[in-house]
């Protein structure tokens, strides 16, 4: 994957903020010490949650797929930390990081992975289908590119209702080639919808590198639709925030959509089932781990700023591990859904029988 040097917001048609001064960017400069520590803690909690979930998967407590976000944490935390109460998020199946970043608790997330009734989707969705509409978190979607029109719809809904927010619509670098994504770009630009399409470019779609799947520069496709676009390095939380803030503001205040590409990296295989030995070199992964790990990068910055010290780092880490362990215990102790639960949450009318208006059979066995 081609890497440009960090700290550059590359060509963009608008908004024309040029290269932001990252350290002094207002969204970062205004952060209190507690807020900075809070952002660091979020990234650590995501990492520890996922490491714990991996162990649970290996112990066969979790079925199906498990797509880990490890290595990409600064993207979700950076973007979601800019959310106001009217801002919304939707993403694909690599959705654990965004869920924690918007404030979801570990217990219902881990319980969802365990397939338990106490899970955030009552054990019905699994790893790829986390949801929490109370936190403006609209999932968790398993079909590549499928969530992107929904993100446009959320933005349309905001505008329709006269709300001030914007919708961040996340997708992977592999998703950009789906027709639904291009159709979404056109609708968003045509109707000036407050949506930011965030391409989380981790270099690979499964075993296919960006170079083998996509023609041209990913975010530049926005130009064809007259949309703003930009590219940013996604390993530094503050850089992500500084880069995203103006785009979000344009979307919120002027209903200007944009396509942004945030360059990041996943350390683990595509999913836990991917042996990860055919398409990239171990040395490449090691290099990222050593020099670009988003938690390490932020830790270094905050240590230099004297916002963090070793004791606090240790405390945050211990607490995050304990929280993840507790969530696993909670999940273990929770009940599974029952066969009778299969036909709940399918139709609103069935779940609200006193208000049923239609007649006739809804289920066929």
């Amino acid at each position: 994957m081609s890497k440009k040097s960090s700290a550059t917001a590359e060509a963009r048609s608008e908004p024309g903020t040029g290269n932001p001064d990252l350290s002094g960017a207002p969204v970062n400069a205004s952060l209190s010490v507690e807020q900075k520590v809070g952002l660091y803690r979020l990234m650590v909690r995501i990492r520890r949650f996922e490491e714990r979930s991996l162990r649970a998967y290996q112990a066969k407590k979790i079925g199906g797929f498990l797509h880990l976000y490890i290595g990409q944490e600064a993207v979700a935390v950076g973007c979601c930390s800019l959310m106001g109460k009217d801002d919304h998020v939707i993403t694909a199946y690599r959705d654990h990081g965004h869920a924690i970043a918007v404030g979801m608790e570990m217990n219902p997330l881990m319980a969802e992975l365990y397939g338990k009734a106490t899970g955030c989707s009552k054990g019905k969705g699994g790893s790829m289908h986390f949801f929490d509409p109370s936190r403006n978190y609209w999932g968790g979607h398993g079909v590549v590119g499928g969530q992107v029109p929904l993100g446009v719809g959320l933005a349309y809904g905001l505008k329709y209702k006269g709300l001030k927010g914007a919708c961040m619509t996340f997708m992977g670098d592999g998703a950009v080639n789906q027709g639904s994504v291009h159709e979404s770009y056109n609708l968003a630009a045509l109707w000036n919808l407050p949506v930011i399409f965030v391409i989380e470019n981790n270099g690979y779609s499964m075993g296919t590198s960006q170079a083998r799947s996509s023609a041209g520069e990913l975010a530049r496709r926005a130009e064809a639709y007259g949309m703003a676009w930009g590219v940013c390095d996604g390993h530094d939380l503050f850089e992500v925030r500084a880069f995203m803030a103006p785009f979000l503001e344009e979307a919120r205040s002027k209903c200007k959509p944009a396509v942004v590409e945030i360059r990041t990296y996943r350390y683990r295989g595509h999913s836990v089932a991917d042996p990860d030995n055919t398409y990239r070199a171990k040395a490449e992964i090691e290099e990222y781990r050593k020099t670009k790990d988003p938690i390490q990068v932020l830790q270094n910055t905050l240590l230099a700023e004297k916002v963090l010290d070793e004791a606090t780092i240790e405390k945050i880490d211990t607490a995050a591990r304990a929280e993840a362990d507790v969530s696993a215990d909670f999940s273990e102790a929770s009940p599974f859904p029952t066969v009778a639960d299969l036909q709940k949450d399918v139709y609103w009318e069935v779940d609200n029988p006193s208000e049923r208006k239609s007649q006739g059979r809804l289920f066929f066995n």
């Binding site: 199906g64 699994g126 289908h129 398993g142 789906q178 299969l342 066929f364 066995n365």
Partner: protein
């Protein structure tokens, strides 16, 4: 005969047809360098090279539509869907273009493509990844639909599908990929539209296809041993064309029928079968036609509940006993 896996049988079929016909090309996500998400195409790139084994971007409508277009010029694309569940992204291409182009051109154009990949539940991948669309596909005249249950059938049917001049939808199963069976190492074909009696019996006929064939065999074994019930199992193998002769012959022998399908019940394959059996063999039936389907809701993730949502040997055993009551 060599004992090989279901996935290897499919691979052999593709390799033999790639060798036989230079117009055959394999297209799909991760089929070449990654060797296939389920390792079905492993080794084909090394053997046939990148012109014949092509990795595509994640663009199902694009590459399936492209395959249809190429087939109009006589290329014979065998297109892998990583999951049949993603057919919905390419629905328009399959149902408006592949299914209709021959008809709308007054028979001037053929569409000799195969779309293949797994279509099954039971691996806890949730509602978006667990669709079994054979009924939806078969609802469209112009397409053929094949669902093999064993390695032997998979190879013989896929070779026929690749040589077929119509679009063939070939639905495999991730849970069966590792199953082993005896498969001839050489060229053989199983015609599309020929059902197979997988077990002879006298008390009741199970009509089924795909993984439920394997589950029905397990149930039939228990029924024989523990309940002294003799079950005949008809494996349809192909949904369209449909071999009603074999089904009706078995009904005339046992006079009782249970249809088992890994399908949601509404307008499922079983509904069509039940209609045809009662219409063509009403006087042969000693009891209403029984039917066991997937429990009617989107596919649940929760592993133990998903196992109960789908047909399984215990549910089949119970359904047989009830049907004989």
């Amino acid at each position: 005969m060599p004992l090989i896996q279901y996935r290897e049988a499919i691979r052999q079929a593709m390799a033999e047809e790639l060798t036989r016909d230079p117009n055959v090309v394999i297209l799909g996500e991760e089929v070449a360098q990654f060797h296939g998400a389920y390792k079905v195409t492993e080794g084909l790139l090394e053997k046939f090279g990148p012109k014949r084994i092509v990795d595509t971007p994640i663009s199902e409508a694009g590459f399936i539509g492209m395959g249809i277009g190429a087939s109009m010029l006589g290329v014979r694309p065998v297109i892998e869907l990583m999951f049949w569940s993603f057919y919905s992204v390419a629905f328009d291409q399959i149902l408006n273009n592949a299914a209709n182009v021959r008809y709308m051109s007054g028979g001037q154009i053929n569409c000799p493509i195969v779309i293949r990949g797994p279509a099954n539940g039971g691996t806890n991948v949730g509602a978006t990844h667990s669709h079994t669309p054979e009924n939806v596909l078969a609802n469209h005249p112009g397409v053929k639909v094949v669902v093999p249950s064993t390695p032997y059938d998979a190879k013989g049917l896929l070779k026929s599908a690749i040589r077929d001049n119509d679009p063939v939808m070939f639905l495999e199963n991730t849970i069966l990929y590792g199953d082993k069976g005896e498969v001839p190492a050489d060229d053989y074909l199983i015609p599309l539209g020929k059902a197979d009696i997988k077990r002879e019996g006298t008390d009741l006929t199970i009509v089924t296809y795909g993984r439920p064939v394997i589950q029905s065999l397990a149930a039939a074994h228990l029924l024989q041993q523990e309940h002294n019930i003799s079950v005949e199992i008809v494996d349809l193998r192909s949904i369209r064309p449909l071999d009603m002769d074999t089904v009706l012959a078995s009904v005339r022998k046992t006079h009782r029928v249970l249809v088992v399908e890994e399908q949601k019940p509404f307008c499922g394959v079983g509904a069509q079968l039940a209609y045809m059996i009662q219409s063509e063999a009403f006087d042969e039936l000693d009891a209403p036609i029984a039917r066991l389907s997937t429990i009617d809701s989107p596919s649940i993730y929760s592993p133990p509940v998903e196992a109960e949502q789908l047909p399984n040997p215990q549910r089949i055993l119970k359904a047989v006993i009830e049907a004989l009551d």
